[in-house]
C-alpha cells in the first residue's frame, strides 16, 4: 500500500463518497496537511493536485468503497401528507379563529369585547400592538437560539438560553414603559386612564407572546389552542357569571393565559433538559455573544411584526376622513380592524400551503444534495427552480381559494342578525379596506413564502432586507395616503409593502436558488 492510498482511504473513510476533488482537498486541510507535505510526502505539486490524485484512484476503484442501499422510503400518500402538513401549518391561526368565534357567539375575546368602551378598546389595541412589536424581536431571537441548541442536543443550554432571553426580554420591554410614560407626561398625548390600561395589557400580552415563543421552541404549538380556550372560558365566566366589566374580564383572560403559557413552557423546557441529563448548562455563552448571534433575528422580528401592524397605527393616528371625531391621537376604528381581520382569512388559507412548501423544500434539499455530484450542479439548481415554480403555482391556487373563502365569509357575516355588525360590514370603508387588505395579504403570502425559504437557508440578511424595504414602503405609502385621502387608505401601505416585499424577496430567492449548492453549504 502506497502512502497515497493510505491517505486516500483515511479521507474516504471520513467523507464517504466524495462529491469532487474540492471536497477531498478540504478534508486534507482538515487533516492538517500543507502544500509542502503534498510535495515532500506524496510527490504532488500542492494539496489540490494531491486531492485530484486521490479522486482518480477512488474513481478507479482503488479503495473498494461501496455505497449502501438507501433506507426504505416509507410509502406516503401525497394528499394525506399535504393535508396533515397543511393543517399543522394553519394551527397558528387557531387562537385567532377561536377568539373570532367567541366574539361572535358571546361577545368576548381574550383581549377584546364587543361592549368595550371605545377608549378602553383603543387602549387595549395600543397595548396589543406595542407588545407585539416589542416582543417580536425577542421571540425570534429566543426561538432561533433555542432551536440551535436543541438541534445540537444541548437541551440544558437551550433551556438556559431561552429563560435568560425571556428574562432579558421582559425586563427590557417593561423598561420601555418608563420612556413611554415620560413622553406622555411631557406631551400629554393620551389621558392617563388610557395609558394605564394600555400599559397593563402591554405587559400582560408581552409575557404571553414571549411564553408562546417558548412553547414554539419546545414544539408544543397545540398548547396555544388549549390555553386560548381556557383563557376564553375564564373571560366569559368572569364577565357572564361574575358580572365583571369587559375590561376586567379581559384582564383576567390575559392573566390566565400568561400563567398557563409560562407555566407550561418552563415545565416542558425543564423536563426536556432533565431528560437529556444536561439540565445545568456547561460554559454558557457570554451576553455579548448571545446578542451578536441573535441580533439579526431580533431585527427581523421587530421589523416583521411592525410591518404587520404599521397600517393600523397609521390609520388610527389621523382624523382625516373619520366621522367619529377621534378625541385623542390614537383612536381605534372598528370598521378598519374588522375589515383587516376578515382579510386575514386569506393568510390563514395560504399559510397552510406556505408551510407545506417550506417543509417539502427542507426535507428534499439534503437528500437531493447528497446524491448529486458537484459536476451536476446545474441539474440540482434547475430541479429546485422547477419545484419552486410548482409550489408557486400551488400557492396561486391557494390564493384563489383563500380570496373566495374570505369573500364568502364577508358576505355570510352580513346575514348575521346583528345590526351593528351589518352596519359595519356594509360600510364603504369596510368594503374598500377588506378588498385592498385581501389583495395585499395575498401578495404578502407569496413574499412570506420566499422570506421563509431564505430563513430556512439562514439567509437572514436577505430576509431582513426584504422586510425592511417592505416596511419603508408600507409606512411611506400608508402614511401619505391616510393623510392625503383618508384614514382607511392606510391599507394602501399594506398593498405597497407587500408588493415591495414580494419583489425583493423573489429577487433574493432567485439569487439564492441560483447558487443553491453554495447556499446549502453556507446555511449549516
Amino acid at each position: 500500500m502506497t502512502a497515497l492510498d493510505d491517505l486516500g482511504r483515511r479521507v474516504i473513510h471520513v467523507v464517504g463518497m466524495p462529491k469532487d476533488a474540492w471536497e477531498i482537498a478540504a478534508q486534507l486541510e482538515v487533516l492538517g496537511l500543507r502544500d509542502s507535505d503534498a510535495r515532500s510526502g506524496y510527490g504532488s505539486r500542492d494539496l489540490f493536485d494531491l486531492a485530484r490524485a486521490i479522486e482518480r484512484r477512488f474513481r478507479a476503484g482503488a479503495y473498494g468503497f461501496t455505497v449502501g442501499a438507501d433506507d426504505p422510503v416509507p410509502r406516503v400518500i401525497p394528499w394525506v401528507r399535504f393535508t396533515r402538513r397543511y393543517f399543522a401549518g394553519i394551527a397558528f391561526a387557531m387562537p385567532m379563529a377561536m377568539q373570532a368565534a367567541s366574539m361572535l357567539l358571546w361577545g368576548y375575546g381574550i383581549w377584546g369585547a364587543i361592549d368595550l368602551e371605545l377608549a378602553q378598546g383603543s387602549a387595549i389595541a395600543l397595548g396589543f400592538i406595542a407588545s407585539y412589536i416589542a416582543a417580536g424581536g425577542f421571540a425570534q431571537a429566543i426561538v432561533r437560539r433555542g432551536l440551535f441548541y436543541i438541534y445540537q442536543q444541548e437541551e440544558g443550554l437551550a433551556r438556559w438560553t431561552a429563560l435568560r432571553g425571556f428574562g432579558i426580554a421582559l425586563r427590557i420591554t417593561l423598561a420601555l414603559l418608563v420612556p413611554a410614560y415620560l413622553v406622555n407626561l411631557l406631551f400629554g398625548i393620551l389621558p392617563w386612564s388610557m395609558v394605564l390600561t394600555a400599559s397593563l395589557f402591554y405587559a400582560g400580552l408581552t409575557v404571553l407572546w414571549l411564553s408562546w415563543a417558548l412553547l414554539y421552541l419546545v414544539q408544543r404549538t397545540e398548547l396555544l389552542a388549549v390555553i386560548t380556550a381556557i383563557a376564553l372560558a375564564a373571560v366569559i365566566a368572569t364577565a357572564k357569571l361574575g358580572g365583571a366589566p369587559p375590561i376586567v374580564a379581559n384582564g383576567v383572560g390575559v392573566l390566565v393565559a400568561d400563567l398557563l403559557s409560562l407555566g407550561a413552557a418552563t415545565f416542558i423546557l425543564g423536563r426536556m433538559a432533565r431528560k437529556r441529563g444536561n439540565a445545568e448548562p456547561v460554559n454558557p455563552p457570554r451576553l455579548a455573544v448571545l446578542v451578536v448571534s441573535t441580533s439579526r433575528y431580533f431585527v427581523y422580528g421587530v421589523l416583521f411584526n411592525t410591518f404587520l401592524f404599521a397600517d393600523r397605527v397609521i390609520a388610527w393616528t389621523t382624523r382625516v376622513g373619520r366621522d367619529d371625531f377621534p378625541p385623542y391621537p390614537f383612536w381605534l376604528n372598528v370598521r378598519y380592524e374588522l375589515a383587516m381581520d376578515l382579510a386575514l382569512v386569506v393568510v390563514i388559507v395560504m399559510g397552510g400551503v406556505v408551510s407545506y412548501a417550506i417543509e417539502r423544500f427542507s426535507e428534499k434539499l439534503i437528500p437531493h444534495e447528497k446524491r448529486t455530484p458537484s459536476s451536476d450542479v446545474e441539474t440540482f439548481v434547475h430541479e429546485h427552480f422547477e419545484a419552486h415554480r410548482r409550489r408557486s403555482f400551488q400557492l396561486g391556487i391557494g390564493a384563489v381559494i383563500g380570496l373566495g373563502l374570505a369573500w364568502l365569509l364577508f358576505v355570510s357575516l352580513q346575514q348575521v342578525d346583528n345590526v351593528r355588525l351589518h352596519e359595519a360590514l356594509t360600510s364603504p370603508v369596510t368594503i374598500r379596506v377588506f378588498i385592498a387588505a385581501a389583495l395585499g395579504y395575498t401578495i404578502f403570502m407569496f413574499a412570506a413564502r420566499n422570506v421563509l425559504l431564505l430563513l430556512t437557508l439562514s439567509r437572514i440578511d436577505s430576509a431582513v432586507r426584504c422586510v425592511a424595504y417592505a416596511l419603508v414602503a408600507d409606512v411611506v405609502v400608508g402614511f401619505i395616503c391616510s393623510r392625503a385621502i383618508g384614514y382607511w387608505a392606510a391599507v394602501a401601505g399594506v398593498v405597497a409593502g407587500a408588493i415591495v416585499m414580494c419583489i425583493v424577496a423573489a429577487r433574493e430567492t432567485r439569487r439564492t436558488l441560483e447558487q443553491l449548492d453554495y447556499s446549502y453549504y453556507a446555511a449549516y
Binding site: I189, A288, T317, V320, P327, F479
Partner: protein, 715 residues
C-alpha cells in the same frame, strides 16, 4: 393656574427653538471658523425657517405634517450634513454609524466601555469648558444675559398677564394654523398668504405638543426677544464691542412707548389732509389717549413685539440678513452669501412686506461697501474713531459683485415666495366656488399691494379707501439723523462699511417715517416702518455711543454708556401701572374667556363640549370642541326649551359683564357687542329659571362663564 400654563408653554417653545436652531445645526455641521455663535445662530434661523417653510408646504400639501415627519426631516438633515463632512455617501455613512453603534453596544455589554463613565466625563468636560468660557468672557456673558433678561421681562409681561392673544390678527393666524392642521395652505375666503411663521409654529407645535392657544399667545414675545437680540448682535457685529451690544440691546428692549417716550417716535393719525393731521398731533398725550386709538407709534411697535405676528418675526432677520450681504461683499465668504439668501428667503416666506426694508438695507449695504473700498494693502484701521468693524475689508468690490449679490437676494426672495404658487390653484378654485364668488382674486391682490406700497395709490385713485397716515417728525428723530450723518462721515473716513450701512439705513427709515409730513412719496406703509426704524435707531445709538466712548479717557469708558442707559431708563413707563395695563392687556378681548377655553379643553374630553361666545374664540375651539357664536345661538335656541338641542354633554356660555370694546369688523355694523352680551346674560337667567343643570363655571370682574352639564348629551 394660568401662570403654570404659561411657564409650560415658554419652556416648550424655548426647547423647540433650541432644538431647531441650535441643536440640529450643531449635530449636522460644525460652525464655520469665521462665524461667531450669533452669526451661526442667525444663519441657522434664516436657513432653518426657509427649510421649514419649504418642507411645511410639501408636508401640508400631502397633509403629513406630523411629529414623525419632522423628526425624519431633521434626521435627514443631520445625516446629509454629517455624511458630507465625512466625505461619504449618506447611506454608507449611516451603515458605518450603525456598525459603530452596534460595536459600542457590544463593548458596553462586555463591560469594556462604560456609559456612566463617559457621561460623567462629558458632563465634567462641559462644565469645565463652561467655567473657562465664563471666566474668559464674563463681561460679555453678563451683558448678553442682561439684554435677554430685560427683553424677556418686557416682552413676556403681556402674555403672562393675560391669556388674551393681543392683536386681533393673532386670532386669524390661529385660524390659519388650524387650516394647516387640515392640510390647507390657502384660506378659501382670503386666498394665499405667506406662511413662514405658521410653518415654524407648526413645527414647534408638532415637536412639543404645546397648546396652540398658548403658543399663539407666547410666541410673539419670543419674536420680541429675538428682535432685541438682533439689535444687540448687529451693534456688536459692527463695532466688535460688547458695550455697543449692551447699549443697543437695552435701548431696544426698553423702547416701550407711553407718555415719557412719546418724544422718540411721536404719534400717528390717519387724516385726509396734512393740516388736519398736524392739528390732531399737536394735542397733548393725555388728550390723544381719549380718542386717537393706536396713536403712540412706539407703543404700538412694542405691543406688536409681544403679540404673535409674522411681520415682527420677519424683522428679526432683517439686520442679520443685510449684514451677511455686507460681509459677503467684503470677504466673498460663501457661507455669508448663503446666510443672506437664507434670511431673504425666510423674510419673504414670513412676511413679504419686510422684503421692502430688506431691499432698502441691501441698497444701503451696496452703497456703503462701494464707498468704503479697501485700501490697496488690507490693514486694520488705525484711527479708532469708530471701533473696529467685524471684518476687515479684504476684497475690492465692483458693481458686478453688487449685481451678483442682488441676484442672490432675488433668488432668496423667489425661494421664500413659493407660497404665491397658491394663486394658480386659488384663482381657479375661487372662480368655481359659489361660496367664494365674492372673493375677487385680482382685487384682493391689488388691495394688498396698495396697502403695502402707499405711493402706488395715487395711480389708482386710492382703491383701498385708506386715509393717509401722518407721523410726527420729532426732534429726537432729527437728532438721530444728525448722529447718523456724523457716524456715516466717520465711517467713510475709516472705510468701515458696516457702520456706514447702519447710518444710511437709519436715515432712509427716518425719511420713510416722515414721508407724509415732508411731502415725499410714502414708499412703505409708515405704521409698519416703526419697528425697523426703532431697531435701526437702537443699533445706531449703540454704535455711536460706543464710538464716542472709545475716544474718551479710560475712566469715562464705562461712565458714558452707563449714563446713557440710566437716562434712557428714566423715560421707561411703568408697565405694571393702570394706564399701561389698560392699553397693553386684553387688547382684543378678555383674557378670562381665553383662559376658560384653556381650562375647559384641559379638563374635558375633546368634542364633548360646546362653547357659546361673542365669536373670537372660534379658532381656539377648533379641533377641541364645538363653537357657536352668540348671535346664532340667541337666534337658534330658546331658553325655555327642554332639552337644549345642543348634543354635547357640556355647553359653556361666555357672558361679558362689561362688554369688551373690540368688535369683529364685519359684524359690528349688524350686531352690537354690548347688546349680544346682554341678551346672552338674559338667556342664561331665563334658562336657569326652567332648568337646574346650569351653574357658574368661572367668574371674574369682566366675564362669567356658565356651564350646562347634561347626562343625556353625546359626543
Amino acid at each position: 393656574m394660568y401662570w403654570l400654563y404659561g411657564i409650560d408653554a415658554v419652556l416648550r417653545i424655548t426647547a423647540a427653538l433650541l432644538l431647531l436652531f441650535v441643536c440640529i445645526p450643531a449635530l449636522a455641521w460644525k460652525r464655520p471658523a469665521s462665524f461667531t455663535r450669533l452669526d451661526w445662530f442667525f444663519w441657522n434661523l434664516g436657513i432653518g425657517i426657509t427649510l421649514l417653510t419649504l418642507a411645511g408646504q410639501l408636508f401640508t400639501l400631502l397633509n403629513v405634517a406630523a411629529t414623525v415627519t419632522y423628526l425624519l426631516l431633521f434626521a435627514t438633515i443631520i445625516v446629509l450634513g454629517r455624511a458630507k463632512q465625512a466625505g461619504a455617501p449618506p447611506l454608507r455613512w449611516l451603515a458605518e454609524a450603525y456598525r459603530d453603534a452596534v460595536l459600542f453596544g457590544l463593548r458596553v455589554l462586555d463591560r469594556s466601555a462604560g456609559i456612566r463613565g463617559r457621561a460623567t466625563e462629558a458632563i465634567r468636560g462641559g462644565a469645565r469648558r463652561l467655567a473657562t468660557n465664563f471666566a474668559t468672557h464674563r463681561g460679555a456673558f453678563l451683558a448678553w444675559t442682561a439684554v435677554v433678561a430685560v427683553a424677556a421681562a418686557t416682552r413676556f409681561y403681556r402674555p403672562f398677564a393675560t391669556a388674551n392673544l393681543g392683536f386681533s390678527d393673532t386670532y386669524v393666524h390661529l385660524y390659519l394654523m388650524r387650516l394647516l392642521d387640515e392640510g390647507r395652505q390657502v384660506d378659501p375666503a382670503w386666498g394665499p398668504y405667506p406662511r413662514g411663521m405658521h410653518f415654524l409654529l407648526l413645527a414647534i407645535e408638532r415637536l412639543t405638543n404645546v397648546d396652540a392657544i398658548l403658543l399663539m399667545n407666547f410666541f410673539g414675545a419670543f419674536s420680541g426677544v429675538l428682535l432685541t437680540l438682533a439689535a444687540a448682535y448687529t451693534a456688536q457685529r459692527i463695532t466688535r464691542s460688547t458695550t455697543a451690544a449692551l447699549l443697543a440691546g437695552l435701548l431696544f428692549a426698553t423702547m416701550i412707548g407711553g407718555a415719557r417716550q412719546y418724544f422718540a417716535l411721536g404719534g400717528s393719525v390717519s387724516s385726509p389732509t396734512a393740516v388736519q393731521a398736524r392739528q390732531m398731533l399737536a394735542r397733548p398725550y393725555a388728550e390723544m389717549l381719549t380718542d386717537s386709538g393706536e396713536f403712540d407709534v412706539l407703543l404700538t411697535a412694542f405691543q406688536r413685539q409681544t403679540t404673535t405676528l409674522p411681520q415682527e418675526l420677519a424683522i428679526v432677520l432683517l439686520l442679520p440678513g443685510a449684514l451677511f450681504l455686507v460681509d459677503w461683499l467684503r470677504t466673498r465668504d460663501r457661507w455669508r452669501l448663503t446666510g443672506f439668501i437664507g434670511c431673504s428667503a425666510a423674510i419673504a416666506a414670513i412676511h413679504s412686506g419686510v422684503a421692502v426694508p430688506l431691499v432698502a438695507l441691501c441698497a444701503a449695504a451696496a452703497v456703503a461697501v462701494l464707498i468704503c473700498q479697501p485700501r490697496s494693502v488690507p490693514s486694520v484701521p488705525s484711527v479708532p474713531s469708530v471701533p473696529s468693524v467685524a471684518l476687515v475689508p479684504s476684497v475690492p468690490v465692483r458693481l458686478r459683485d453688487v449685481a451678483y449679490g442682488a441676484g442672490a437676494g432675488a433668488l432668496g426672495i423667489a425661494i421664500g415666495s413659493t407660497w404665491m404658487l397658491g394663486y394658480l390653484r386659488y384663482s381657479s378654485m375661487a372662480a368655481k366656488s359659489e361660496a367664494h364668488a365674492d372673493a375677487n382674486v385680482g382685487a384682493n391682490v391689488g388691495g394688498v399691494v396698495l396697502y403695502y406700497f402707499p405711493f402706488l395709490r395715487s395711480f389708482t385713485g386710492d382703491a383701498t379707501g385708506e386715509a393717509t397716515a401722518y407721523m410726527m417728525l420729532t426732534p429726537f428723530l432729527i437728532a438721530v439723523v444728525v448722529i447718523a450723518i456724523l457716524l456715516g462721515i466717520a465711517a467713510i473716513r475709516t472705510r468701515e462699511a458696516a457702520a456706514l450701512w447702519i447710518a444710511l439705513g437709519t436715515m432712509f427709515f427716518v425719511l420713510t417715517h416722515a414721508a407724509s409730513v415732508i411731502g415725499i412719496p410714502e414708499i412703505v406703509e409708515v405704521r409698519r416702518n416703526a419697528t425697523w426704524l426703532a431697531l435701526t435707531i437702537a443699533v445706531l445709538l449703540g454704535v455711536a455711543i460706543a464710538a464716542f466712548t472709545a475716544r474718551l479717557p479710560r475712566r469715562a469708558y464705562f461712565a458714558v454708556p452707563a449714563l446713557a442707559i440710566v437716562v434712557w431708563l428714566a423715560t421707561m413707563p411703568n408697565l405694571f401701572g393702570a394706564s399701561m395695563r389698560s392699553r397693553l392687556l386684553d387688547y382684543s378681548g378678555y383674557g378670562s374667556t381665553t383662559y376658560a377655553v384653556l381650562r375647559i379643553s384641559q379638563r374635558h374630553e375633546p368634542f364633548t363640549w360646546t362653547l357659546v361666545s361673542y365669536g373670537q374664540e372660534y379658532p381656539m375651539v377648533l379641533g377641541r370642541g364645538f363653537h357657536l357664536n352668540g348671535v346664532d345661538f340667541l337666534e337658534e335656541f330658546d331658553p325655555s326649551e327642554s332639552p337644549l338641542r345642543i348634543p354635547t354633554p357640556h355647553v359653556f356660555i361666555a357672558v361679558e359683564k362689561r362688554p369688551h370694546h373690540f368688535q369683529i369688523n364685519n359684524w359690528s355694523t349688524r350686531f352690537d357687542r354690548a347688546a349680544v352680551e346682554e341678551r346672552l346674560q338674559t338667556w342664561c337667567v331665563l334658562y336657569g329659571m326652567t332648568h337646574n343643570d346650569i351653574r357658574v363655571y368661572l367668574d371674574d370682574e369682566n366675564v362669567r362663564i356658565y356651564q350646562i352639564a347634561r347626562r343625556e348629551g353625546r359626543t
